[in-house]
Symmetry: C2
Subunit: 196 residues, 2 copies
DNA sequence: ACATTTGTTAACCATTTGGTTAAACCAAAA
DNA sequence: TTTTGGTTTAACCAAATGGTTAACAAATGT
């Protein structure tokens, strides 16, 4: 079992890296928030890059894990995709900074991301694209475009929430933060509209 | 007229800040790429923050300027929104890093963003929400949700393009980068589906 | 021609930051 | 009790970084 110190470091590092990114994060800050000496960070995780790597890899794994729900063969293709969208939204609601974090760091270091994806996604799970193509639904929609729109509708609201909040409040409307349910049902509507 | 040096600095700074963000960017790097001494940066723009501020403000202004197209009263509401989406996509295609840049820096420094938005958006231009409400279309859609979905469909594909590229190529499909037209027509379809 | 402002540079400075070292601590084994 | 192994710390280091200074060159006005 990993020592409690190591776990504490990991948890704090997750927070800090998610908020500040690889560059913005400071080892001293992580150490302080974990209530330990800075040297101890390097004792457990040799370098900043190494520590970041663990955090980033963990986030990416969690992210991809969400797509496994697509393999539930007891449901129809459309229902599986709807179910996926709901799980995806739940996941993003739990980790609102996740998307931005991943996009930030990927754009900053494309090579790292490529490696990670290769090692994670190797377990040839079925993707939305495969699913649609196999079901013959690619006559209705362009699978790649559809996948992108699906992700757009699920992820972007969380990405841009702080911005929308400001803009909307500025224009006199009121902002209700966790619009999970509205979001879910609207995505569901989109999926059925597109695929039937 | 601004000196050519100042302009050169601004252009380079734009590039570097967009790519690396406020933290990641290095003054020395900007100076090198602009072919000048580092001290000259501080001569024209007192500090890194000041320089960044100019770049960020410029980007934000450009971003909001796109929404003015909504005020073209010679068209129907739906056509105006469609036109906006097309202009928005063209804009994002021209500056693919814009969205990520703005989101990154906003999440890193919400206060700065709030100030900027207040000073830029003060010119009470009509927003999508107003437009929909005034036209009575808010019986068909939740205006805020619709605005968010509209932005999602336009912006996210550019945000996540590098990621999708990797994932899609990984799963054997081929990736065609500038799918402007497909994107435009699909967004148009979405708008009409939602508002009629 | 001369003085004054503007543009530009090399050298320097203070601070921050990731990382290292050697010593201290501390529980469990011998 | 002493030894031993992993754990933790204070002090330190080298490099990087944002920023400053003083001197110098190039326009610009008189």
């Amino acid at each position: 079992m990993r020592s409690s110190t190591e776990n504490r470091i990991l948890e704090v590092a997750k927070e800090v890296f998610m908020e500040q990114g690889l560059y913005g994060a400071r080892m001293q800050d992580i150490a302080n928030k974990a209530g330990i000496n800075k040297a101890l960070l390097h004792y457990y995780f040799r370098s900043k890059e190494r520590l970041f790597d663990v955090v980033f890899g963990g986030a990416l794994t969690k992210y991809f894990k969400n797509m496994e729900v697509l393999n539930n063969n007891s449901k129809s293709v459309i229902d599986r995709i709807i179910h996926f969208s709901e799980c995806f939204i739940d996941f993003l609601a739990e980790y609102p900074q996740m998307s931005l974090f991943l996009l930030k760091e990927m754009s900053a270091n494309e090579a790292l991301f490529l490696d990670k994806v290769k090692s994670i996604k190797s377990q040839e799970q079925q993707g939305v694209i495969q699913l649609i193509t196999d079901a013959g639904l690619d006559s209705k929609v362009d699978p790649v475009l559809f996948l992108m729109q699906l992700h757009s509708l699920c992820a972007y609201p969380f990405l841009a929430a702080p911005v929308f909040k400001v803009i909307i409040e500025k224009s006199g409307q009121k902002w209700s933060d966790p619009l999970h349910d509205k979001l879910k049902s609207s995505v569901k509507k989109f999926i059925t509209q597109q695929l039937t």
